[in-house]
């Protein structure tokens, strides 16, 4: 479903961010991405939602290949995946439901289908009662839930989360993480970069550690997923 094959990513100013990264994430899997700041976690995620393209090597996401991809195809791919960030990235002058609806509107979803989908997903993230609140009226945890609702509203096959609990207190972190587990339990894969090692230790999910642009540890090493990519490489 997500496959990195000997991927290198080099930035003109900062140099090599990833080197020779190969990995495979299966459908419905939950994967933690850990490592120090600047290790390459965000670059790896950006390559997954094709905000960046590899300098060398190749990436496949749900059958879409990074090599030679057109901007229009990137847009199409993004409709099949959800992305959330540490800073939520909500539109401040729109209500929670308008923020979620926005994701449907920009991909030309029929107008009549929007309110139902928005209400369903806001209920799923536990914000049914806050639909008409503006981001500034919501707590950090609630804002992250709105961002997750926006990411989920198109029924993505994978949720990519870049430090989603980085700005949250302990209680909100637990809530957001539980929500991610629920989302994963319903069949959506989750790829989550985090610094919160407590979360990682307390769960049984696959963990990939990145350091200096390389994968230095993969808890799935030796299992089917890892062998699959080696076999393909």
């Amino acid at each position: 479903m997500i496959r990195f094959q000997h991927v290198y990513k080099e930035y003109p100013r900062t140099g090599l961010a990833l080197q020779d990264v190969s990995l495979f994430v299966a459908k419905g899997e939950f994967v933690f991405l850990i490592g120090p700041s600047g290790a390459g976690k965000s670059s790896l995620l950006k390559l997954t939602y094709m905000d960046e393209l590899p300098t060398k090597g190749d990436v496949w996401v749900s059958g879409v290949r990074a090599k030679g991809i057109k901007r229009r195809d990137v847009a199409k791919l993004r409709r099949k995946l959800g992305v959330v960030f540490q800073d939520f990235r909500l539109l401040e002058d729109r209500t929670a439901e308008a923020n979620v609806a926005f994701a449907l509107e920009v991909i030309d979803t029929p107008r009549s289908a929007i309110p139902g989908k928005v209400a369903r997903v806001l209920a799923q993230v536990g914000l049914a009662g806050k639909a008409t609140s503006y981001p500034r009226e919501l707590s950090g945890g609630e804002q992250q839930r709105v961002a997750m609702a926006r990411a989920l509203v198109n029924d993505p096959f994978v949720l990519i989360a870049d430090e989603p609990t980085g700005n949250l207190d302990e209680r909100a972190t637990r809530g957001v993480f539980q929500l991610l587990r629920d989302i994963n339990a319903s069949g959506t894969a989750v790829l989550m970069a985090t610094h919160n090692l407590d979360l990682v230790r307390r769960s049984e999910y696959r963990t990939i550690e990145v350091n200096r642009g390389q994968i230095v540890f993969d808890s799935a090493d030796g299992d089917t997923a890892r062998r699959k990519v080696e076999g393909l490489a």
Binding site: Y49, R71, A75, R79, R89, L91, E105, V106, R150
Partner: protein, 282 residues
Amino acid sequence: MRLALRETMIGFRRAPVLSMLSITTIAFSLFAFGLFSLVAVNIRKTLRDVESRVEIRAFLADGTPVEVVSAAMGDIGAFPEVIRVEYVSPDSALARAREELGEFKDVFESAFLPASIDVRLREGYRDPNTVRTVAERIKAFQFVDDVRFGEEWVDKLHRIRNVATAAGVILGLAFAAVAVIIIGATIRMAVMARSREISIMRLVGATDAFIRRPFLIEGFLKGLLGGGLALMLTWFASEVISRNFVQTEFFSRPLAVLGLVGGALIGVLGSSLSVGRHLRKV
């Protein structure tokens, strides 16, 4: 399209000062262009008025029979370049000379001036070469003694016209380029102000065409409003000049509409360039 319009309105509402500033900037850059165009239009009109007086005068030999003259007038009138042929008798020529040169009216005596045929040319045939060619053709008639058309004056007029046209085109393009750059810069500010929104749109799968649409509408509206404002300012300036200095002609209706459409198109072009540049970066 509904959504694009809504996003455009949100853009206007969210930053009303910035929007007004861009419309005013667009209006003033187009106003400068409008003033220049007003000058160009009036110079052109003046030159056209002067040019319409380009005339070939063929002096006739004494005693040329009237029927020969009228037959020749028919022939000359059939030249494609000719719009009007007029016979001027010696008496009419005298009356005209006395009228035009009032202070010398006593100097002129009867039968002092010969009869002539005055020939006026159509617009587009008043350049020196055509005038000369037609004059030579008329001179070929046996009863024509001499042909005059103010050769030096026609040459000079033609040169002035060419210089005015070239200067008009160059300055016009320069003004238009400045307007496009200024409009592009103001719209770029609007694009930057909404860069967060653009990045979110891209994140959730909006295509470039979709993202571009509200900005193009915004550019169109700003260009149209700025163009309208510029047109009003130019009209006001034209009125002030007409009342206090010299009678000026304002743009014809089609030209005014062309100005508005031009403003809107410049707005769309400026927007398209700005948002395109921004999209390539995100």
